[in-house]
C-alpha cells in the first residue's frame, strides 16, 4: 500500500541558488554549466530553446545575451538549507533527494491542517516567506506519482494516482533505453505499459522493467517489507575540539560515510536513506534525512553529508557553536545486489582513478590544457586531428557518416581526398615554423599556379631543425592545395613538399614564395 506523499519541487534550483547569490542575474536568461554542459536554465533561457544537456556554445547561439554561471554544488546545498528549514516548521519528517527536491509523508500534517490543499498552501507560503518563489508542490500516492504531481502541480485525490499516471509518457520513468524500447513496441503511455501482465514484463524486460512496471502501476518502488536496519548500526564521531569550519567537519563526515557503508556492505546491505545528525557544543541537535533513488555509494553519501554540513555551518545564526558530534543513521537499508565488476577487478576503478587525476590537472591548468586526440577528416596532418578537452564527450551528438567513420581507428577510415599521403608525422607545428626552401642558386623555390615548381629544392633552412636545416637529400612534391577557391578574399594556394634534409624528414609548405615547416616525421 503506498502512502500519501507530498513533493516540493523548486524548478531549476541551480539557477535559483545562483540568483540568490548574485542579484545581477535576476530577470536575465541564465544558464548553469557543469563540465561544459548545461545543467539548468532559467525560464527566460528556456523560452529561447535552451535545455539541459546542451553544450555551452550551442546554448549561447540559441540565446544571445545569455549569462553563464559555473555550477556550485555547495552553494546550492547551502541555499536549500533555508528552504528545508522553512518546511521543517510545518512538516515534522521529510526527506531530501537533492537540493531542489523534497518529499514527505502527508498523512499527519494533512490531518492537522485540515486537508491536502490547505497543507500545500501552508508549505508554499512558508517557502515564499523564506524568499523563494516558483516552488511547486504536488501530493499523490507514492513518491513517483508525487514527483510527477509536483511538476503540474496538482493534488491527486487518494486512490486516483493510477488514473493520474496513465496518460503520462513513458519517458518520465527516467530510463531512456527502456522508454525507447517501449515506444518501439507501441507502448507510449504509462497506462499502456501498466496494462501488461507483470510476469510477462519481468520475462521480457528483466528486473529493471519490473521496477518500472511497478512504478507505472502506482505501486511503491520497493516491496512493502524492507529490511529493518540492525539497531546498533549507527556511526558516530566526536569532534574534539568542536569543529567550527566546514572542511574539518566534512572530512570527519566523509570518514563516517565510508565506515558506515563498509559495515553495511559486510552485512550484505546497502543504504538508500540516511539521517545526518549533528550536535553542537551548546547541546543543540540538528538532523536531516537524505534519500537517494539507487543505493548510496560512498561518494554519493559523502557528498550529501558535505552538502548538509555546508548548509548548517554556513548559515549565519543557525548553529551557536562548533559541532561536537556527528552521527549517521541508516534509515532504510536494502539487500545489496552488488555490481559485477570485471573478472580481475575490472578497469572501472582504473578509469575512475585516471579521470580524477586528469580532472585534478585540469583544475590546476584549466580545462583546455588536458586534451585527447580525435581523428577527423582533413588534408594536412594538423587538420586531421581534433583535440577534445578531457571530460567532454568525444563524439558530438550529431555526426555525419564520415565523422562516425573517422572516430574509428585511422587505419579504418576511408581516404579523405587531397590528404598528404604516407605516414603521419609525429610532430606537427601549428602555426608552421618559418623556413626557407632554396634551390641550387640560393633563390626561394616558388610554385606556379599550375603546380610546377620553379626549380628543384636543394637546401632547407629552418632555425628549429637540428643544424638549422641542411642540404636536401630527397624530396617529392609539390602537392597543390587550393583552399576556398570560390571566395576571392579568402582563397589560398599552398603547395606541400615532403623533404629529407640533413637526415630529418619534414613536410614543408610553400605559399606565395614563403616556405614553412608544417611537420617533422620524428
Amino acid at each position: 500500500m503506498t502512502e500519501r506523499t507530498g513533493c516540493l519541487w523548486l524548478a531549476d534550483w541551480p539557477v535559483v541558488a545562483a540568483r540568490s547569490r548574485d542579484d545581477a542575474l535576476l530577470g536575465v536568461p541564465v544558464v548553469v554549466l557543469e563540465r561544459g554542459l548545461v545543467r539548468a536554465a532559467s525560464a527566460e533561457a528556456r523560452a529561447d530553446g535552451v535545455v539541459p544537456g546542451l553544450r555551452r556554445r550551442e546554448a549561447e547561439s540559441r540565446c544571445p545575451g545569455l549569462s553563464v554561471v559555473e555550477a556550485d554544488e555547495r552553494g546550492e546545498a547551502r541555499a536549500f538549507e533555508a528552504v528545508a528549514r522553512a518546511v521543517e516548521a510545518i512538516v515534522a519528517r521529510f526527506e531530501l533527494e537533492r537540493p531542489g527536491l523534497l518529499l514527505f509523508p502527508t498523512r499527519g500534517p494533512s490531518r492537522y491542517f485540515g486537508g491536502d490543499a490547505a497543507l500545500v498552501e501552508r508549505v508554499l507560503a512558508a517557502v515564499g516567506e523564506a524568499g523563494f518563489t516558483g516552488a511547486r508542490m504536488g501530493v499523490a500516492d507514492g513518491r513517483f506519482a508525487a514527483r510527477l504531481a509536483a511538476r503540474h502541480p496538482v493534488v491527486v485525490p487518494p486512490g486516483e494516482s493510477v488514473a493520474f499516471l496513465a496518460p503520462c509518457p513513458v519517458a518520465v520513468l527516467g530510463d531512456t533505453e527502456l522508454a525507447g524500447l517501449l515506444a518501439h513496441l507501441g507502448l507510449r503511455t504509462l497506462g499502456a505499459f501498466a496494462a501488461l501482465p507483470a510476469p510477462a514484463v519481468l520475462a521480457r524486460f528483466g528486473v529493471e522493467g519490473r521496477r518500472a512496471h511497478r512504478l507505472a502501476r502506482g505501486l511503491d518502488e520497493r516491496p512493502v517489507a524492507p529490511v529493518s536496519p540492525p539497531p546498533d548500526l549507527v556511526e558516530q564521531h566526536e569532534l574534539d575540539p568542536p569543529a567550527e569550519r566546514v572542511d574539518v567537519a566534512v572530512f570527519a563526515g566523509k570518514r563516517l560515510a565510508d565506515r558506515l557503508l563498509e559495515r553495511l556492505a559486510a552485512l550484505g546491505l546497502t543504504c538508500t536513506r540516511v539521517i545526518v545528525e549533528a550536535e553542537t557544543e551548546h547541546g543543540e541537535r540538528w538532523s536531516r534525512c537524505w534519500r537517494h533513488e539507487a543505493a548510496l555509494t560512498p561518494a554519493a553519501l559523502a557528498e550529501r553529508v558535505r552538502w548538509q554540513l555546508e548548509g548548517w555551518l554556513a548559515h549565519e545564526g543557525a548553529l551557536t557553536g562548533g559541532l561536537t558530534l556527528l552521527r549517521l543513521v541508516p534509515d532504510e537499508v536494502v539487500p545489496a545486489s552488488g555490481r559485477q565488476l570485471g573478472f580481475w577487478g575490472g578497469d572501472q576503478a582504473a578509469a575512475d582513478r585516471a579521470d580524477r587525476a586528469l580532472a585534478r590537472v585540469q583544475g590546476l591548468l584549466g580545462p583546455d590544457a588536458v586534451v585527447t586526440p580525435l581523428p577527423r577528416g582533413g588534408r594536412t596532418p594538423a587538420e586531421r586531428v581534433g583535440w577534445v578537452a578531457w571530460g567532454e564527450p568525444r563524439a558530438p551528438a550529431h555526426q555525419t557518416a564520415h565523422q562516425t567513420a573517422a572516430a574509428r581507428s585511422p587505419a579504418e577510415q576511408p581516404a579523405w581526398p587531397g590528404t598528404v599521403p604516407g605516414p603521419s608525422p609525429a610532430r606537427v607545428f601549428e602555426p608552421p615554423l618559418p623556413a626557407e626552401l632554396l634551390d641550387v642558386r640560393g633563390r626561394a623555390v616558388a610554385v606556379s599556379s599550375r603546380g610546377d615548381p620553379s626549380a628543384p629544392p636543394a637546401a632547407l633552412r629552418c632555425a628549429a631543425l637540428p643544424g638549422g636545416g641542411g642540404e636536401v637529400e630527397a624530396w617529392a612534391g609539390p602537392w597543390a592545395h587550393d583552399l576556398r577557391w570560390w571566395d576571392g578574399r579568402s582563397r589560398r594556394r599552398r603547395a606541400l613538399w615532403q623533404v629529407i634534409a640533413n637526415g630529418v624528414a619534414c613536410l614543408v609548405s610553400v605559399e606565395r614564395g614563403c616556405a614553412a615547416v608544417e611537420a617533422v616525421y620524428d
Partner: protein
C-alpha cells in the same frame, strides 16, 4: 607433454601443488611487442620504473615514445603525455597503435608547475610520458622517481633526465625509404635506437628498428 603416473596416495596433493598459480610476471610489468620489445631486456617495462628517451627533433624520439604509449594502452592502461611544445601529432599516435580513448595529452604546462602536474598524473594513470623541461632540479626528479615507484606507474622522461633511470633509449636518426629526387613518397624507415639499462643485460649496440609506414 608427458603424462606422469604418481602413486595413488599422493596424486591429489601433487596435482594441487603443480596447479597452484604462480605470480604472473606480466602483472608487474608492461609487455612490449614488436621490434622495440626485441631490443629492451625482458621485452617489458617494469611498473614503477623510469625510462628515458633521448634524441633531438627529427631523430625519431617521438616515435619511440609513441610505441611505449601504444604498448601501455593496448595492455589496457591509461596513459598521459605532458607535451611542453604542444606539437604532438595525434594521428601519428593512432598509427603507432595507441588506443586514443585512453590517451590524454597535457599541454601548456608552465615550467614552474611541471613537477606538480607530473606528480598528479603519476597518481592516477598507468604510464606517464613527460617532456623534461630545461633546468629541472635533481631533487624534483628524484622525488618523482620515488613517487612512480610507490604508485607502480611507469614514467617515461623525454629529454635529459637528472636522476636515475632503469632504461635509457636513445634515438639516433632514421633512414627513410621511398623518397627519390622529385618522385616517390615517404614509405618506411629504419629507426636506429640505442638501448642501455640495468637489470638482466646491459646492451650498448645499435639496432635497426624497421617500421612500416
Amino acid at each position: 607433454m608427458a603424462l606422469v603416473t604418481l602413486p595413488p596416495s599422493r596424486r591429489i596433493d601433487d596435482a594441487a601443488r603443480r596447479a597452484r598459480p604462480v605470480a604472473l610476471a606480466h602483472e608487474r610489468a608492461l609487455p612490449l611487442a614488436g621490434e622495440l620489445g626485441a631490443l629492451v631486456p625482458g621485452a617489458r617495462l617494469r611498473r614503477g620504473s623510469v625510462t628515458t628517451v633521448e634524441g633531438g627533433l627529427g631523430s625519431g624520439a617521438t616515435s619511440v615514445m609513441l610505441r611505449l604509449v601504444a604498448a601501455a594502452t593496448t595492455a589496457g592502461e591509461w596513459t598521459a603525455a605532458v607535451d611542453l611544445a604542444g606539437t604532438l601529432g595525434g594521428l601519428a599516435a593512432g598509427e603507432a597503435g595507441v588506443v586514443l580513448e585512453r590517451f590524454a595529452v597535457v599541454r601548456r604546462v608552465p615550467p614552474a608547475r611541471w613537477s606538480t602536474v607530473v606528480a598528479a598524473l603519476l597518481d592516477g594513470v598507468g604510464l606517464v610520458v613527460a617532456d623534461v623541461p630545461v633546468g629541472l632540479r635533481a631533487g624534483d626528479a628524484r622525488r618523482l622517481v620515488a613517487r612512480a615507484r610507490e604508485r607502480g606507474t611507469v614514467l617515461v622522461a623525454v629529454g635529459p633526465w637528472p636522476a636515475e633511470a632503469a632504461l635509457h633509449l636513445r634515438a639516433e636518426g632514421s633512414v627513410w625509404r621511398g623518397l627519390g629526387r622529385g618522385a616517390g613518397l615517404l614509405a618506411d624507415r629504419a629507426l636506429h635506437v640505442q638501448v642501455e639499462g640495468r637489470g638482466a643485460a646491459v646492451r650498448g649496440t645499435v639496432d635497426r628498428l624497421a617500421e612500416a609506414g
